[in-house]
């Protein structure tokens, strides 16, 4: 009955090859020079998986299928072409919600037509183990969908980033989760539709409930976590269909999401649990040094900054979230080019959680044609600040905050930071003295003697510096 086990050998090998292609696709990302070949291998792997599936099934509706692929593909291609690089976090969340929804739909289709999936016993009932896999797959898919929708809305600014804290939310969430698991267990005994659909509905609901209390800035961790979930959902479906391509993919995507979440939490020095529990950023106001506004600081103009950098031998640029918001990467590259023409050595220092998603700054700088061999990770460049004349901090804040090294009471204590204060002069671009970074902590560097504040929108300020340099 279990018809998939009669699959011919070439099919199994084809799915294996497809899985290997996906492994090689991710492996290619170990360096920019191999990454494009890797991406093409990923496409080949997908083509093999789709082609094989179409080849071995009797197809009652090829026109509709081609139509569905064409419509979806066209939407995908146009989106990919039009999207701005600064909107990548939202795009990933949006794509995510689609995977989640597709998983729910496949699960529902399998429930409605189990024979097509080869998961029925002789009497036509769905195999118990498949019911569990199906229930889990649908639940994970639904959570991924609704969670990603919220993440998208928060990241895209359609919804306030502030955490929404319902009373009793931990109790409600726990209750819902228990209900879902209980129903899936009961589902193995009783195949009634109401159970299946209740599980689906509850899962959609808990996706909203779980993500709503999490602050907008924590969304990247959440998106990664949902990514990981969707991987495990694919793996679960792979178990159902005995499909090695899906299993390998599931394990890859599952690991990827989990590892990225881990990297982000570690770099922020926060526990994964505290991110998921939510509420971060709800309490506003500086946590560290209070009464910040009254302290004296040096303010500089674009001309001052231009003059300082022209005189310098070595400038290290530290971009942060503000550069992304202001879309200042292109004009920043122009500025660096002008400085290089004057014989100044220019490097970029990237903190692992600068911006709002892993690798955010790198992709923006690459967009602006900054060669990747001028861009350095924290560990590789941190010792160089001591030899730099100018640290040019553009829209970064938390990732430079020395409180992470010294102030045990600070919420960011223990997070690794860039040692910009070791440079002879630190230039800080931000819009106001009031606005704190993501962590809401005051930055003592603003008031140091060797710091000059450049208060303006990042793009405008750099444009003026370029004018002053030219």
């Amino acid at each position: 009955m279990h018809e998939v086990s009669a699959t011919p050998a070439w099919v199994l090998i084809a799915y294996l090859i497809s899985g290997v292609c996906f492994i090689l696709a991710l492996r290619g990302l170990s360096s920019p020079s191999t990454s494009q070949r890797g991406n093409r291998l990923g496409m080949i792997g997908m083509a093999i998986a789709v082609g094989t599936t179409l080849a071995i099934h009797e197809i009652a509706s090829i026109a509709e299928i081609v139509g569905a692929i064409a419509i979806g593909g066209a939407i995908g291609l146009v989106t990919a072409k039009r999207i701005q690089m600064t909107a990548m976090p939202q795009l990933v969340a949006a794509f995510h919600s689609l995977v989640g929804m597709a998983a729910v739909l496949v699960g529902a289709a399998a429930f409605l037509n189990p024979a097509a999936f080869g998961i029925v016993d002789a009497a036509g009932a769905i195999l118990p183990v498949s019911r569990v896999e199906m229930g889990l797959g649908v639940a994970i898919g639904a959570i991924t969908f609704s969670g990603s929708v919220i993440a998208f809305l928060k990241l895209n600014g359609n919804m306030s980033g502030a955490p929404i804290l319902l009373p009793l939310r931990h109790v409600i969430n726990l209750g819902t989760l228990v209900a879902i698991l209980g129903l899936i267990a009961y589902f193995t005994q009783d195949q009634s539709p109401w159970i299946f659909w209740t599980v689906t509905a509850l899962a959609f609901a808990i996706g909203f409930l779980l993500i709503i209390p999490i602050g907008g800035a924590d969304m990247p961790v959440v998106v990664s976590m949902l990514n990981s979930y969707s991987g495990w959902a694919a793996a679960a479906m792979g178990f159902t269909l005995h499909n090695s391509a899906m299993i390998i993919t599931g394990a890859l995507v599952g690991s990827s999401g989990a590892i990225l979440s881990y990297i982000m939490c570690r770099a922020m020095n926060r526990s994964f649990i505290s991110v998921i529990a939510g509420g971060f950023g709800a309490v506003e106001g500086p946590a560290g040094g209070a009464a910040a506004i009254d302290r004296p600081y040096k303010r500089g103009s674009a001309e001052d900054a231009a003059f300082l950098m022209q005189q310098a031998d070595k400038v290290i640029i530290v971009p942060g979230y503000g550069m992304a918001v202001a879309q200042a990467q292109h004009v920043l590259r122009e500025m660096a080019d002008l400085l290089k023409k004057e014989g100044v050595e220019v490097k970029y220092a990237i903190h692992p959680v600068a911006g709002r998603m892993p690798g955010h700054m790198n992709v923006l700088l690459a967009e602006a044609n900054v060669p990747y061999d001028e861009v350095f990770e924290l560990e590789d460049i941190n010792s160089e600040f001591a030899q730099a004349d100018v640290a040019f901090v553009i829209g970064a804040n938390d990732v430079t905050n020395p409180a992470a090294k010294t102030d045990k009471s600070s919420p960011i204590y223990g997070m690794p930071v860039l040692d910009v204060e070791k440079a002879r002069t630190v230039l800080f671009i931000k819009r106001s003295m009031g606005g704190a970074g993501y962590a809401g902590v005051d930055n003592e560097l603003f008031y140091r003697d060797n710091t000059m504040m450049l208060l303006a929108d990042a793009k405008k300020m750099v444009e003026e510096i370029v004018k002053a340099l030219g």
Partner: protein
């Protein structure tokens, strides 16, 4: 393939996933998120099975919608990854 084989493949694939993801350079973490998005749409295989099968019209339509959604992701995910990766250039001046 029996369950144990599938399980063995899964266990080993988890090891591979662990190592292969850790070997991704941090500068490419954003493309990594985009491409995992694309490949996780391999669940289109399930959607195609549902869409191709005769038997249940509602299952077929659900399958077709799933095919369309997964296709958005596949084409969009690979294309946006390719677009990003094309931007990473070495100094050649």
């Amino acid at each position: 393939m029996d369950f144990i084989s599938i399980l063995s493949i899964f266990v080993l694939a988890c090891f591979v996933g662990y190592y292969v993801v850790w070997s991704v350079t941090p500068a490419l973490h954003t493309p990594l998120m985009a491409v995992t998005n694309a490949i996780s749409s391999v669940i289109i295989v399930g959607a195609l099975i549902a869409a191709a099968a005769a038997g249940s019209a509602s299952a077929k339509w659900l399958g077709l919608i799933a095919v369309a959604l997964a296709s958005v992701n596949i084409f969009g995910g690979f294309a946006v990854t390719a677009r990003m990766l094309a931007m990473y250039k070495k100094k050649d001046r």
